[in-house]
């Protein structure tokens, strides 16, 4: 059994990984941690070094995740992609055809005052409407079973 986990090193992703480890322990699955670095939308060349840093950070996160999973007695590997997170995850499932894809839903905790809150709310709503968020995009298009873990 092969389980693919969208992993970015965030708190939610770590919780999701721990949850999967608990849930599927008896199936002895192979865990594939997939991380996607988004291309910077920069119109200059200035951000190249920063982008590489970000990439290395993500790789580090993925390796930590793999270490954790192997420590728990799982087989685990990582996959790093560059580009649009939604599309790359979709491509990853097509490429490796896992039995299950796991996504931790991002939590949106609006902070700041009333203006900031309502602005954030408005923009997030637009996100959901336009399938902007990774989970809604994949829910529509993924060709393998999909498990979405709500953020606590």
């Amino acid at each position: 059994m092969k389980i693919m986990i969208a992993y970015d090193g965030s708190r939610n992703a770590k919780l999701a990984l721990a949850q999967i480890v608990n849930m599927f322990r008896c199936n002895q699955p192979l865990l594939v941690l997939v991380g996607v670095v988004e291309n910077p939308l920069d119109a200059t060349d200035n951000n190249e070094t920063l982008f590489q840093q970000e990439r290395d950070e993500l790789k580090q996160h993925l390796q930590e995740g793999v270490t954790f999973a192997t420590g728990e007695g799982f087989e685990a590997e990582l996959l790093l992609a560059e580009g649009d997170a939604r599309k790359m995850l979709l491509q990853a499932t097509q490429k490796l055809s896992p039995d299950l894809l796991v996504i931790a839903r991002h939590s949106h905790q609006p902070d700041g005052g009333i203006i900031a809150k309502s602005l954030t709310y408005f923009v997030d709503e637009l996100d959901y409407m336009t399938f902007g968020s990774v989970s809604s995009f994949l829910a529509r298009r993924a060709e393998c079973p999909l498990l979405i873990l709500p953020s606590p």
Partner: protein, 497 residues
């Protein structure tokens, strides 16, 4: 980065963003301070004709392209803070010269020199890029571009009122323009002291300097050369126009033509110098990119930003003459076209991000522009004014959204040369403006709108055929492309020696 974070004035990068968009805003305000005052100028200066004003409008966008090249070099040497400050202070001189110009030559030359101010866009983009992380940069640059472009709207809204009511009299327009120039110079001085190049001034990140864009195949090099010629070559149109109207002798025109030809030849030589060695060696498969996408985006920016610059320059007069309004009201209404920038341009970038299919979004926008300008071509005095305003706003939502969508695709064509690709596309916006405004000197406003609609439609066809959806890649088969790796090892070697 959330939209709401633009209110966190305490964080240094947000402060830098605000300082920089205001600078860009002021430069745009000054850049477009003539169109809304055109009719006042005609009334108070008896030797000016409407044709002269159309010529000034072309001059107003002419030298932006060479200025961009010079500013680009200066950015690498001095960093955006100094360049922006110096640009604002020096450009207030031709603005003042224009304000108090009392001869045709003085007005013409002042406007020509002042057109360099359009290069401010590039400076601010670089400044923004120094302050923000790759994750937030798209939003920050969209915000910067949208609010900065809004300067032309505020100019159209406020200048006639300032000229007519604050100063009044036949020389009101002079003082209104002078005032904007003085504010700009003052802000330029303030900017020098208020900001640093990036979070820590010591780490002034330099883009790798190359003389010309790299391409991946011989055919692409030919295309690049063909697409490079109009960048400076378009100025020949302006020279011809000035000579035709009798403000330039044949000798002067010939000299100008020769200079333009020399610059074009120099650019082609640079392309050959950069690319011949690369192509002879052969470009590895994983480093190839298609120039067709670049060409397609050049055409979209020609058809959207070029159209915007051109339309902003003629719209106040159009409303004034068609519906018989006074200058202040016409300026206010014409400003509705540029006013939408606040939301429309960032929205174009956002839609492009959200929909997950950037090519499709671009195509929709370009088609929308064609339809919008077709509608504007049908406007005449029998239309109720409110409907005309609605059509104008609707069109400009598409025009500016397409600008945002263009800059949403540029970074994903080939990341290593993003700076050059965006520079070329940006310059094509000005090429578009020069071409459109030159055409405008021969036609009526409604024919003019038909032509812009046709331009947008042609660009739509080019996109349909040439533009590719940007692709991502997986690490295990694609680390950084092999050429990137070579460059890295080279620079490591260089830093060790």
């Amino acid at each position: 980065m959330k939209v709401s974070s633009v209110f966190k004035f305490r964080s240094p990068e947000i402060r830098a963003l605000h300082l920089t968009w205001i600078a860009f805003f002021i430069t745009f305000y000054v850049w477009f301070n003539m169109a809304p005052l055109a009719s006042s100028m005609l009334k108070s200066v008896d030797w000016l004709t409407p044709d002269d004003l159309k010529l000034f409008a072309i001059c107003n966008v002419a030298l932006t392209i060479p200025a961009r090249i010079i500013v680009g070099m200066a950015l690498d040497r001095f960093g955006p803070r100094r360049v922006f400050s110096v640009l604002m202070v020096t450009m207030s001189i031709p603005a003042l010269a224009f304000a108090f110009g009392d001869s045709m030559t003085q007005l013409l030359v002042a406007r020509l020199v002042l057109s360099s101010i359009g290069a401010s866009f590039v400076v601010g983009i670089h400044m923004t890029a120094l302050w923000f992380k790759p994750k937030d940069i798209g939003f920050a640059e969209g915000f910067y571009a949208g609010w900065g472009n809004f300067g032309s709207a505020v100019a159209a809204m406020s200048l006639p009122t300032i000229a007519l009511s604050m100063y009044g009299g036949p020389d009101g327009w002079r003082w209104a323009i002078a005032q904007s120039a003085i504010v700009m110079a003052a802000y330029g001085v303030y900017y020098w002291f208020a900001i640093t190049d990036g979070p820590d001034a010591s780490s002034h990140r330099k883009p790798r300097k190359t003389a010309a864009m790299e391409v991946s195949s011989w055919a692409d090099m030919i295309k690049l050369i063909i697409w490079t010629i109009p960048l400076v070559g378009v100025l020949a149109i302006l020279v011809w126009r000035i000579q035709y109207m009798g403000y330039l002798s044949v000798t002067g025109a010939t000299i100008a033509y020769l200079v333009i030809v020399a610059i074009v030849i120099y650019q082609i030589v640079q392309i050959l110098r950069v690319n011949l060695p690369i192509l002879r060696k052969g470009v590895p498969e994983d480093d190839k990119y298609s120039f067709n996408s670049v060409a397609a985006l050049n055409s979209t920016y020609f058809a959207n930003f070029g159209a915007e610059l051109a339309v902003v320059s003629m719209l106040p007069m159009f409303f004034e003459e068609t519906w018989g309004l006074n200058a202040a009201t016409a300026g206010l209404i014409a400003a509705s076209f540029a006013f939408v920038n606040l939301v429309a341009r960032p929205m174009g970038g956002m839609v492009s991000d959200r929909m997950g299919n950037r090519r499709f979004v671009m195509l929709c926008y370009m088609f929308g522009i064609s339809v919008g300008f077709l509608m504007m071509a049908l406007l005449n005095s029998s239309w109720p004014l409110i409907l005309a305003i609605a059509v104008t706003i609707g069109t400009s939502i598409f025009v500016q959204g397409a600008e945002g969508a263009t800059f949403g695709i540029i970074p994903s064509i080939k990341r290593r040369i993003t700076g050059q690709i965006s520079g070329m596309a940006g310059a094509y916006g000005n090429v578009g403006a020069v071409v459109y405004l030159t055409i405008f000197t021969f036609v009526t406003p409604s024919q003019f709108f038909y032509i812009i609609a046709a331009g947008a439609f042609i660009s739509w066809v080019i996109c349909l055929v040439w533009l590719k959806e940007p692709e991502g890649a997986f690490d295990d088969e694609y680390y950084v492309s092999s050429v990137d790796r070579d460059i890295e090892t080279q620079s490591l070697k260089n830093s060790k020696t």
